[in-house]
């Protein structure tokens, strides 16, 4: 949702390919596919794959970007747990505008969907 709003505010052509998976391109975001793959490797905790991707990010964008990207991804291990553990509902006014995005990204099968919309 904020990716869409941020893109609109910057007149950027953002798509949601890199959110859904890392095989579909950058989605209009610089290094989008690479950052998406980094997120997957952090999630899967595959040491070899993660080491390789960290090298790729440093080579493509620098060590600062690697550290900041890992920090943002790690932050969402906090935010998702807070939302899912407290029954946080979707914010008023976001259900309808984000419906198409949620369908595109493929999150409608999650258990947390039913809880967030309860």
């Amino acid at each position: 949702m904020l990716l869409s709003l941020s893109g609109t505010n910057q007149d950027a052509q953002v798509s949601f390919e890199a959110v859904g998976d890392s095989e579909s391109g950058d989605g209009g975001v610089e290094h989008g596919a690479l950052l998406s793959r980094l997120c997957e490797a952090i999630f899967e905790e595959d040491g070899k794959q993660l080491a390789s991707l960290k090298d790729d990010v440093i080579e493509a964008a620098g060590a600062d970007v690697l550290i900041d990207a890992v920090a943002v991804s790690a932050n969402f291990y906090m935010m998702t747990r807070i939302a899912d553990s407290t029954g946080t509902p979707l914010d008023a006014g976001t259900v309808e505008p984000s419906a198409e995005i949620r369908e595109l990204v493929g999150v409608n099968t999650f258990t947390s969907r039913r809880e967030a919309q309860a």
Binding site: V29, I42, F43, G62, I67, M79, T86, G87, F110
Partner: protein, 227 residues
Amino acid sequence: MAAYSTELPIRVDLDEAHTEIAARWAATGSWWSGLERLAIVEEVRRARDSAEIAPWESPSEIAGLVSDGHVLPEAAIDAIWRVTNHPGTLTAEWHASILGRGVHAEAYVELVAVVAQANAVDRFADALNLDRVELPEPSVSEPAKTSGVSLQVTSHWVPTAKIKGPNVLKALSAVPFENESLSLLSSVQYVRLGDLLSDLVSNQNSLSRLQVELIAARTSKLNECFY
């Protein structure tokens, strides 16, 4: 003292924030003592480092996983493991079952906050092959175990205070100290929460806001979080 010893160019504000968060874990909470709060963090680490158990299995029911005389009640330990390893499977019924086993509704909020913070801080260290943040000595004073704010169960499973902002920021409002910790971590690892919706274009350190939101969305999807 620095949180991390590494040649990687970790920002000073990020390193200092993780040191401060560890100190806050060791502080006396509203509902849990410093000793108990550090035990929550240690249990998050055990949950992450152990062979994964299925969502429907509880560590308290598996022989050898929970030591006799543990400082935390079994319901709290079961909640810590489930929130850490299977957050996308949580339901209102599960939440009610944890409260039904004796965990106070506001103590649950504080527990969730510490669990969530520990997942963020440790995930950062693990992904960069850093030693996890060292845990300080716990505060020895006892928690007051009283509500400091007026609360109601309305929009969330948990009691919340009337505060402005997105629902995810309201989630921890029963324990203001934990909302401060959330704000501290978010400001160095994501965006300053006050700027969440008001500034959607500024770069965040070395990342563009688009890159930040892509990483946020991709990670949320991997964790199967619909919110």
